[in-house]
Symmetry: C2
Subunit: 208 residues, 2 copies
DNA sequence: CCATACAGTTAACAACTGTTCTCTGGAATT
DNA sequence: AATTCCAGAGAACAGTTGTTAACTGTATGG
């Protein structure tokens, strides 16, 4: 049991990543349920049968993509709904973070938005589970905010889900306006900002 | 130019509808981008080539399905965000309407949720356009509410989009819990109700 | 009553799909 | 140095796909 990777395993992970990358690229203009195994291997330049060395089926490839797209996002959550600064600053920071992420990983965002309600059950479930984890994390973050002192856990989770949904909706909106003129992108950011503001107002007056 | 339908056209529309129904059924466990033309005709019991008498491609079939799923929904919008009753009654009525609709047309709801961000561009655009129309209608309805006297059109449209998104999100949640035990369905309805309540609170305190 | 229009059929096309089995070259282990 | 392991290749399988062309029967309009 050596802790060195070895040429063998290194090469394997390399082609595995190549398969993931190629699939993500192909999925920009189709859904996972229509993605062919041969289509992916052809794009990578390996034999169709090599696919099975890495994934039992394209559905498992999809689950791996969910991990890649959302797994590394958990650290970002804490800063997104961080308690630092006043309400306006927090909203601006969140919008900025989402916009940057969409610009940096558009294919990831598209994949999640597309397959969240897509035709492949295991992938839907993987996304649902990850989003539920996000909601939990957002809840614990919200609980530390002095605004939420008299909130019960159920209401906090309700608000957390609302925020997570809003984040995804905003990310999807930003994705659509990625190639649009700057004016439209500003309008989109403005819309998202005001929606977040309305939610945060509702939050402040929840117990009236 | 007769106003009588004629045996011929009647039969044509009958098979056309059969194609739409079969497609909708098949789309419950896959996405439109993987729906085969032959698959649909086989389900209806008609030759593959007959498909072309009704739709140039499966994408056009999808656009027709958008029309069927959302086109008939516009009348419902007015009553959903109607101004009658107090806030709690309005929310209860909206949730009830959504729940009924999801139970009555689950395949329609699933199709819209799935293809809204799906892999077929013309269908995405058709859904986006219809939802934009919904938002416009919601806005004019909201404008008549005395709560919105000092709201500008831009903010009203922002709120309308938030409501439309929330409706879809709620419908999708209800769809997932359709076959779940009643306890979970009640929890889902409760969550949706509180989220709507938070938004409506934010709305009331928008200009503070 | 007859000519036309046309929804649906049949047959054939090349291209594609997922999956199995057998094989090979080189890294890993002993 | 000899042996095992295993990522990937290659070939073949039975089925599938979208699209074309030429057809048939029947409702429709003159």
């Amino acid at each position: 049991m050596s802790h060195t990777v070895g040429i063998r395993q290194a090469q394997k992970q390399k082609t595995r990543q190549a398969l993931l990358d190629a699939a993500l690229h192909l999925l920009e203009e189709q859904s996972l349920s229509s993605l062919g195994l041969r289509e992916v291997t052809r794009a990578v330049g390996v034999a169709p049968t090599a696919f099975y060395r890495h994934f039992p089926s394209t559905a498992d490839l999809g689950v791996a993509l969910v991990e890649e797209a959302l797994g590394s996002l958990h650290p970002m959550i804490r800063t997104t709904v961080s308690t630092a600064g006043d309400s306006r600053q927090r909203i601006d920071r969140a919008i900025e973070l989402i916009a940057r992420h969409v610009a940096a990983y558009p294919a990831h965002v598209r994949f999640i938005a597309r397959e969240r309600h897509g035709g492949v059950q295991p992938v839907r479930e993987a996304i649902r589970d990850q989003l539920a984890r996000f909601a939990e994390e957002v809840r614990t973050e919200l609980a530390e905010d002095p605004v939420s002192t008299d909130w019960n856990d159920d209401d906090l989770l309700m608000l957390a889900h609302l925020y997570v949904d809003q984040m995804l909706s905003t990310a999807s909106l930003f994705l659509e306006t990625l190639d649009a003129p700057e004016e439209e992108r500003i309008r989109a950011a403005d819309l998202a900002r005001r929606q977040l503001r309305l939610i945060s107002i509702g939050r402040r007056h929840w117990h009236d």
